[in-house]
Amino acid sequence: MSDATIAEPSDVEEIPPGYDDGQDHAGLPHHTSTGLSNTKLAMWLFLGSECLLFGGLISTYMLYRNRQSDQIGPDQLWDIPFTSATSFVLLMSSLTMVMSVSAAKRKDEQRTKMWLTVTALLGGLFIAGQVYEFTTFYREGLGYTTSLFSSSFYTLTGFHGVHVAVGIIMLLSLVAMLAKGKLAGDNAETVEMIGLYWHFVDIVWILIFTLVYLIPA
């Protein structure tokens, strides 16, 4: 026993390539049992669950859209040309987002940052339009608790607005992290994940725009 010695690092058997050494291979591609990215799988699961959230909010609005008080209803309030313009802005932000994903896959960091910034700006423009719209409606007498119609309308569009705001924060954070070189792992995949979230927000607005604004009550 007294002869027992602690093995020197050079004495430790070197694990041949291909075997799991239980270490984190920083900077190397990771393996998954499905061959698919776990991050991407999780994002799609999250987006699938978001369908249920917005499905509930849209259904509630559809149910209560005719439960309005006095003369304040959709037909008196909606400004279709204005809302169409903000919808167009959000639709075009999906184009700039996909351009940033494309640039990230080409490892063109300058264009990636530029398109991400443009996407965030377009998202900000959409939010500004929504704030203006809400303010106008409120001044015309449509408060949050005015009627079931107003509550369901503000909840639905407000939830969507919060999603857009969260998206803008993620986009700007991504730009800052890219600029400082603090982004770990695969940059293109990170940009793609935020892109998926952004496109989902756009898809939800496609539904809201038609079901809430265009289809007559």
Binding site: E14, P16, P17, G18, Y19, P29, H30, H31, T32, S33, T34, G35, L36, S37, K40, L41, W44, L45, L47, G48, S49, E50, C51, L52, F54, G55, G56, I58, S59, M62, L63, I80, P81, S84, S87, F88, L91, M92, S94, L95, M97, V98, M99, S102, D186, A188, E189, L196, H199, F200, D202, I203, I206, L207, F209, T210, L211, L214, I215, P216
Partner: protein, 141 residues
């Protein structure tokens, strides 16, 4: 160890066959190595066998979406004010939804599992809330 190995692999740093016999040949080991992600040719290309659109094609897709939106607005403002209006708007909405999901979100080019997860959630939502709306007699007015 064969004499051929001795003569060719004189570098002592290569210890895979000499010092460690794990009972697995190098060829077997290569076969069992799981696929790497993200691979150089990513899964985007593998899913349905289509190539991702170029930047120019993305612009064309955006133009199509803009035209569909314009058609929606035109239908509401100056289109048929009758029983056809709502079906037209719903169809245009669904087409826009599909275009964004398929091309901008790459579902058309990605692995089918992603489409399954997303459309499963969407299907659940549609069934669940259709049942809720039916409970509240939404369809019968």
């Amino acid at each position: 160890m064969s004499s051929e190995t001795d003569t060719t692999d004189t570098d002592t740093t290569d210890t895979t066959d000499t010092d460690h016999d794990f009972g697995i040949s190098a060829d077997q080991l290569a076969d069992e190595t799981p696929p790497a992600y993200p691979p150089s040719q990513p899964i985007h290309e593998g899913g349905h066998g289509h190539k991702e659109p170029s930047d120019g094609q993305y612009i064309w897709i955006a133009i199509i979406l803009a035209v569909l939106t314009a058609l929606e607005i035109l239908s509401t403002e100056a289109g048929p004010d009758g029983p056809w209006l709502v079906p037209i708007l719903i169809v245009l909405m669904l087409v826009k939804f599909w275009v964004v999901a398929s091309f901008f979100m790459h579902l058309r080019f990605d692995n089918r599992l992603f489409s399954f997860l997303f459309y499963l959630g969407l299907g659940f939502a549609v069934v669940l809330y259709s049942a809720v709306l039916a409970t509240f007699h939404f369809w019968t007015g």
